[in-house]
Symmetry: C2
Subunit: 771 residues, 2 copies
């Protein structure tokens, strides 16, 4: 755990330079706009520890898989998000000596992420050989208003000397991924152009043949005077240099406008021409106008998604940081894109799509972004249905059964650990649940006819084939799975997976009947396309749903995570010595597997998904049983515990679980922030507040709140969009205050008491309702 980020409501601030922390800060201060992202690497050369990262959404490389022992069915490759051409480079030489913070005395240093405006600021004073002191300040952003554009303004000033300063502003395409399995480079240069301050470099990925044109336009000014630039180039590298004598105190200003255009969005043949036109456009607008548009776009984002916490600066900073990163990662404009667990902040987990999106991120975007944003996340999976059917076929399933991959870029499975790839199949259920959740929230039932039903049929068919009849139990069982609790592998009858599977079958039938009733034409199209045999398939699915086996412990009266769970030695987390944690670093894998300790409680995840089925007492028993055995070594774990604790009115515990992930990256809890941020778990933090503390739910088309105010807070407030209503909800110790901008009224329930919300502010005292 680190504690070097200064507390501030709107800004992330690092004061002073510690090379040990540099990679962590590079992650924390990352900027992005849903289409591209950039770690907070320095513009000038840096020879110290760094993870260089510039990412272009949707551009990946199928890196040849590395396994110890091949298992039948493994995918041939692991798709990786690519470290793309470095567009930020501004190399500085002072009297012939390269400026490099690793090799000089850093007198002062400040990195600042202005979340409100989406700006990365950096300033420092460094002392070079012979006591020469320079001062640098830079501002950088990836434009939220134009997601192909980015810009830098970089200023440098000799503080106590006069001397020769030369700069090289460059695009460096000779980059690689640190996580390349065989140390290969993934890009080839295929075209380039240089033209009075502008550099255009087109790189193409090997195998996948994505083309990306990275282009920059650089101006260098001294006292409002533009310096002349000279083009330089070598393999995969383009740049422009300028040089000048600077007097003590004189400032050189370098402005760099940049674009990344991908062949996903532009004709490859015209990529260069498009780039030339686009650079011309940016030049016309200029840095200041670009920046203003960017800030305005951010203002809009904040309007939709901000959470205000009064009385706790650290908590305020944390939640804003999480919301900021979520908005930087996914804008919802493009249904081909998704949310990698590290977003655009690192290479780890390959930038690929996991079930995190459906289980944790969709609720965030449902409430804080226009409806098409979460709809696009669903359509992403719809577009990959064919691949999911292929994927299932590779594993021996047939007749249109679909198994969505554990990790994917283009719909193909990338993961290669049999206990995950082949067995962690609950992901398939989460994808169905997201469809249900989306419709429950938005009321957009038409989605089923257009896209959802096909996906639900494929998923239901998978479950139908994945269970088998146990003549021993006289029930349907599901053998050989891994639940969300990845500290158990290849188990039988994982309660969560069985539960989810049965629900999927039920929901698929319900969805089919609904489409048949409401849109017979669409229904006909879907059953023809999927060769759906209504009679047999409905009967099969219903039989499984009705006769599914659910492990249960009579003594503890809890749902059992899996068959045989009570054979384990029942130790509680509180009795584990601190020296043995985290288990995943201190214990061998076999010991973890046979212990009762849980990475992420999957029974509780199931009770969260299907909460209306369970009374408070059942929830309390299960929560108490599983919570005491859960080590939360997945960043996705605490939020569900927080929400359930809130539901059980255990406010203290709800807050405690919230705290575990709120500042996960800011304080580098797990010593891994340097690899990138835990983007998807950030959505969980949002859920802890909105679904946990505010107790927000949507049931029968109605918004419900069961709020409480965490101990140290004075109030908290959040913005949500709900079926055309933009609401600001504020919760104080006594009141829930809802501000609506809609002219139409909205009925909401506070502790099950209906209240009419009209335009303007409505104050409701909730404490009395609670009793």
């Amino acid at each position: 755990m680190k504690n070097y980020i200064q507390a501030d409501e709107w800004n992330i601030i690092e004061e002073g330079f510690d090379p040990q922390l540099n990679k962590i800060s590079e992650s924390l201060f990352s900027i992005g706009n849903g289409r591209m992202g950039q770690r907070a690497n320095f513009e000038e050369h840096y020879s110290g520890e760094t993870l260089q990262g510039s990412y272009v959404a949707g551009v990946y490389y199928p890196d040849k898989t590395r396994v110890g022992w091949w298992k039948n069915g493994y995918p041939e490759y692991f798709a990786k998000v690519l470290n793309a051409a470095a567009w930020i480079g501004i190399d500085i030489s002072i009297d012939g000596r390269q400026l490099d913070l690793h090799c000089c005395k850093v007198l002062s240093f400040r990195r600042e992420l202005r979340m409100k405006e989406g700006l990365l600021l950096r300033s420092f004073r460094a002392e070079l050989d012979g006591g020469k002191i320079v001062e640098v300040s830079s501002t950088r952003f990836c434009s939220m208003a134009d997601d192909e554009a980015a810009a830098i303004c970089y200023r440098i000033r000799p503080v106590n000397f006069s001397g020769q300063l030369s700069i090289t502003s460059s695009i460096d395409g000779d980059v690689k991924n640190q996580d390349a399995n065989y140390d290969e480079k993934f890009w080839e240069a295929i075209n380039s152009k240089q033209d009075s301050g502008a550099d255009y470099l087109i790189l193409k990925t090997k195998k996948t043949a994505f083309e990306v044109c990275t282009a920059t336009f650089t101006t260098v000014e001294l006292d409002e005077q533009r310096l002349s630039l000279e083009a330089v180039s070598r393999e995969k590298f383009l740049g422009h240099t300028a040089a000048s004598e600077l007097k003590e105190g004189q400032e050189l200003r370098i402005t760099k406008l940049a674009i990344n255009l991908s062949s996903q969005n532009h004709e490859p043949a015209s990529l260069l021409d498009t780039a030339v036109a686009k650079i011309a456009d940016l030049k016309n607008k200029g840095f200041q106008a670009l920046k203003n548009a960017h800030i305005a776009a951010w203002a809009e984002k904040w309007e939709e998604s901000d959470i205000v916490i009064e009385g706790d600066v650290a908590a305020q900073q944390a939640i804003r940081f999480n919301i900021f990163q979520l908005n930087q990662t996914y804008s919802g404009k493009d249904a081909r894109l998704n949310i990698g667990p590290k977003g655009f902040t690192g290479e780890k987990y390959g930038g690929s799509t996991y079930w995190d999106t459906e289980a944790y991120c969709i609720p965030f975007y449902l409430s804080t972004a226009p409806q098409e944003v979460s709809r696009n996340l669903l359509i992403y999976r719809y577009k990959q249905l064919d691949k999911a059917i292929e994927n299932a076929a590779k594993l021996g399933f047939k007749d249109g059964a679909a198994l969505y991959p554990m990790v994917t870029m283009n719909g193909e499975e990338c993961h290669n650990e049999w206990e995950i790839t082949f067995e962690e199949i609950h992901r398939n259920g989460a994808i169905a649940f997201a469809i249900f959740n989306y419709i429950r929230y938005t009321g957009d039932a038409a989605y089923l006819a257009d896209y959802g039903l096909e996906v639900l049929i494929g998923i239901a068919r998978f479950w139908k084939q994945r269970v088998n009849w146990s003549s021993d139990k006289q029930k349907f069982v599901m053998l050989g799975v891994t639940g969300p609790n990845e500290y158990e592998n290849n188990i039988n009858n994982n309660w969560y997976t069985n539960k989810l599977a049965a629900w999927c079958l039920r929901y698929a039938i319900e969805a089919a009947r609904q489409v048949a009733a409401e849109n017979p034409e669409a229904y006909h199209r879907v059953i023809t396309k999927t060769k759906f045999d209504e009679g047999t398939e409905f009967a099969d699915w219903t039989a499984i749903d009705q006769q599914m086996y659910y492990p249960y412990d009579e003594k503890e009266e809890v749902f059992l995570q899996q068959d045989g769970f009570m054979d384990k030695e029942q130790i509680l987390v509180k009795d584990l010595p601190a020296s043995e944690r985290p288990l995943n670093q201190k214990w061998s894998w076999d010991r973890i597997l046979r212990s009762c300790f849980i990475k992420q409680a999957d029974v509780l995840q199931g009770m969260y998904f299907f909460e209306d089925e369970f009374d408070q007492e059942t929830l309390r028993r299960n929560f108490s049983f599983y919570e005491s055995r859960t080590v939360h070594e997945s960043s996705l774990s605490p939020c569900v515990h927080s929400i359930l604790a809130a539901k059980l009115n255990d406010e203290e515990k709800a807050y405690e679980f919230y705290l575990r992930t709120a500042r996960l990256d800011l304080d580098d809890y797990n010593n891994d922030t340097e690899d990138g941020l835990h983007i998807t778990s950030m959505a969980g933090t949002w859920m802890s507040i909105v679904e946990g503390f505010a107790g927000m739910r949507v049931r029968n088309g109605q918004l419900k709140f069961n709020p409480f105010l965490p101990g140290g807070w004075k109030a908290f407030a959040f913005s949500i969009g709900f079926r055309g209503h933009a609401l600001k909800v504020k919760i104080t110790a006594e009141q829930i205050i809802i501000n609506s901008e809609a002219s139409e009224d909205l009925e909401v329930c506070i502790f099950n008491h209906p209240h009419q919300i009209s335009k303007g502010e409505t104050q409701i005292a909730y404490k009395t309702l609670l009793v």
Copy 2:
């Protein structure tokens, strides 16, 4: 399956050259002597498909592990047997053109392995450019009389032309392993010497720093006239060349005497001097004398271990091939060596030690080799006890608990698949069982005091910590294991492992009590060294033994392979379409895991180990249940089925199972002989005959036979050594005929009827005893 090896009782013969079969033949025609081994690569250059392999026992390299996803507890490296310097090279040029069977017309070709003499013969006629025909014949052996020596006699004759012939006899140390994880070379050259026909090359392994001096002495003769030789050398390569005009029909004879001296057996500093002396000695003796001594040594091996089958040439050839390879692989002279699953015939499985040795090979060596051979195999594990304790400690076990590795060279674990490495712990039991089995056979109870007890204590301590008390079952359970049936992973209460563990605890107590009674001094030494707490540890072990849980199915009345086995869909192998087999190639891993199909039946393995506990009816029920679900996709599987079928008087099935492995490599059943031979499963074939067909057992110090004669056979006979008695046992349809060379009488039991065996021949009609 291939069928190109000619049937012959004593020889393996390949007639005609098919490049497609070359790697298979390179494996089949491998030669070795327990200290070194050599695949049947050609002496002359060959540019076609080949797996070059020269191996020196005990010399390994810790190749950096390659895994997809690291798990805590994985070993850092996988030890690999090394492809060592190629000493066989005799390169031929005819009128300036290199002889290469890949690039000329092969008119005739014959490879022959004379198993009786241990000789590899090869002869061919090849037509070169312009119709020039040459004839070559070579004889090669790795001396069984002197296990550091080998020799080649290579003759070449222009058949229809006269021309210039030049030869280069070489040692090529610039070799690598095909299975190197990162394509590295593992050897460095550290010294060399060349001296009138002799080449000496000392290579040293990286990291492990083994040194091997490979030396050869070459003579080239034309009509009894020695040609003069010229030394040639380059990096890691030494050789001598000779050239001469040959007249049509004239024969050039190249004789190459070779040695491999390892720093395991010689002081590194004097390795070169030792080699010089040794080469001088070989020169003195000459090729013919070396060959004679080698043949004589083989005659002795055959005297001890031959099996004669009358009336079935294919079966005769097969069993001799298996015995031949077992004797080539392990001589039992050196307790630092062991038996790799591929012996000296390929790189696969790293040439390392597996539980195959204890479970399958020890019975063979017990009966067919002097007692110290199997004793040395036990001492190998004794010497690695410290490492086994370290290995257990890495996984969280303490207080001297020992977990022997799944795969090892020097006692450290090399395997890195969690479900095997950490979970396939039954190997620990097999190591204890081998001690019991050795003493049962030999009567050498003193072994316990000297070595065995320490090992048994370490193993018992491991099991004690590996089980846990299930408050649910009120029994001790063992969670998260993989049994010998590797088509189940991470299962609970594997019947075989539980059974073996409880037996180990019981046997350790029994062994301790026996040593305490018979050799108090040794007992004191062992309990001091192991810090053994007799009171507590005996009590703990007894409690576990008495309250161990064994899964059982009441309906089928069979021991259950593991918890939940009856939840699986119960399909029988006979109902599997042929197109879906072998499962390990046709099915994805998850499908295999959740099916009821068994790679190797571990309940039956347990019933074989502890057969005296079970009546015939129990055995019959379990055999019938598991046999029908077993796909035998491990070459170690059929032999146990064969032995049990024999016990159940199902002679047909016993023979059928025998056939499955007898010619496994000769007929390339599994399409993998090119990687090397299945050495350890060859011992299983021997067991099928001796323990299966002849029904041989040792009980209470007495030899027992329950024989039958397989259908098509006229008779079979085998040699065994038993407590000082060298016996030849012949079984005909009616009689068992035992020839003893010992002057002392021996009582043996035939179908539980005691018979006195005196020196000379005893004929016993067994059919009448059977009733």
